[in-house]
Amino acid sequence: MDRFLRESAAVAEVELIKLVRDPTEIFSRAVQPVLWLVVFGQVLAHVHGIYTGEVGYLAFITPGILAQSVLFSAIFYGIAVIWERDLGVVHKLLVSPARRSSLVFGKAVSAGFRGLVQAAVIYLLALVMHITIRQEPHAIFGVLAGVLLGSALFSTFSLIIACIVKTRERFMGIGQLLTMPMFFASNAIYPLDLMPGWLRTVAQINPLTYLVDALRGLMIVGGESVHGYAVDFTVLLVVFVVLVMVAVRLYPTLVE
């Protein structure tokens, strides 16, 4: 266990060093949530087209947009993995005696930290837009834990896709194909109750729904977790563990 944590920390640490040294990507990824909240959110809030109960529409979608930006930045993580494969970095990692599980987990943790930057951007934006945000430390801690877990989950999913498609071109196509349906078939920008039955079923098996649900309760004043935090976090954790197990098997096939 000690060795697993040490190796994972080593992998995560270099990713963080790179991120701090060149944060361009993080900031460019922050543009999209700004558009969703400032443009889309404000327009829809104005027309009162979607009933979101006590909570205003803008507050309702704020956790949804955070979850979306977590998904969007994590899902393209596979591109970096393919790039590393093309460079030979993956070969070198895999020839080391470090456990495959440490390599995969270390990458997931570093993606998780990328997600935290997204969370910081959304919190700032929410403050500027006077969206009523919960400020209790345990609620903020819960949001950060959810974002960390969600980023790790979706980046590991992305790693699995990268291992299957192996080229950047194919990955770009599949990445685009997956993100939008995952986003729209979730509770990010409208409640589950408004969905037709089939879409609600899809949303119920979409991990993004559980991330949004947890964030909605933890992030905004008057927000509520429909499934309950225990269910939300358990689903996310179980899906993450399963994905890590699959990725550990597939990661070595990247260099074959």
Partner: protein, 272 residues
């Protein structure tokens, strides 16, 4: 070859090692025995099976059939033990350009489980050995091609492996950088007793560096021997190019596929 392959005490010992990709047999029943302390060259045209063989010996790729022992451990039964005893420099550039030389080495030290107390000393030693001490804190993307290769060698030697695998170590390097890599490899053998296995299709490199070579052709070992012996066997005045042309299938055969060519050119461009 088979009799030697069965005797004890080899750094690398492959028996009937085979790898198929669909209908293509990239490596076809290869037997190989490389004594400890040798610099051994795997020669062959693109597509002859060199990289596939090296991937199997370094546990990156499972054989379809056959087996091998590397550093005294079975590549199938004990891949972790094998990985702890080898160093590997892929043909592609594996040093991370967004990190400094020191950070690249630190990552390797941690992944190879070097104790914290020893890391600093070993990294300092490796940097000094490869002549990179002054550039240790610079980002690797500012390094020259030869410096990157030397850094990769430093990473591969950090845990004092018994065997170093190098896939086309000097591809794309200018003559000066090439000679400096050769010198370092000889020093590694002399100072640390490392066995070095390189793949190359550069006959000058084979002649200058290798104690013994195996020429691969279409996934099989066409011949094994010391370069001077192979030349003599072919006749007075024969060069290594002649030897290669003779055993690699009657003239330099066009080999490799599109991705092979792209990969080689990319590496050459990044090093240049």
């Amino acid at each position: 070859m088979n009799t030697t392959a069965r005797s004890k005490g080899f750094a690398v010992q492959a028996t009937e090692l085979t790898r198929r990709f669909g209908n293509l047999t990239a490596v076809n029943h290869i037997d190989l025995a490389i004594p400890y302390g040798e610099i051994f060259g795997l020669l062959g045209a693109n597509g002859a099976g060199k990289s596939t063989l090296i991937k199997m010996l370094t546990t990156l790729l499972a054989p379809t059939s056959g087996n091998a022992e590397v550093g005294g451990f079975d590549i199938l039964k004990s891949p972790s033990e094998v990985r702890g005893r080898i160093g590997y420099v892929p043909q592609l550039l594996s040093a991370d350009g967004a990190l400094t030389g020191y950070e690249n080495l630190l990552l390797s030290a941690k992944l190879y489980g070097l104790p914290r107390a020893e890391r600093g000393v070993r990294i300092g030693e490796a940097l000094n050995f490869m002549g990179l001490t002054d550039s240790a804190r610079k980002l690797v993307k500012t390094y020259s091609g030869g410096m990157i290769r030397r850094l990769e060698l430093a990473q591969a030697m950090l845990h004092r492996p018994a065997i170093l695998f190098l896939d086309e170590p000097t591809i794309g390097l200018d003559p000066l950088a090439r000679h400096s890599v050769w010198d370092r490899l000889r020093d590694l053998r002399r100072d640390y007793g490392m066995t070095v296995l390189i793949t190359t299709h550069d006959m000058e490199e084979a002649e200058a560096l290798c104690d013994e070579v195996a020429i691969l052709h279409a996934g099989r070992v066409a011949v094994v021997g010391k370069p001077p012996e192979l030349r003599t066997r072919l006749g007075a005045g024969a060069s290594m190019d002649d030897v290669f042309a003779h055993y690699a299938g009657g003239g330099i055969r066009e080999g490799g596929d599109f991705s092979n060519a792209v990969q080689t050119r990319q590496t050459a461009r990044r090093l240049g």
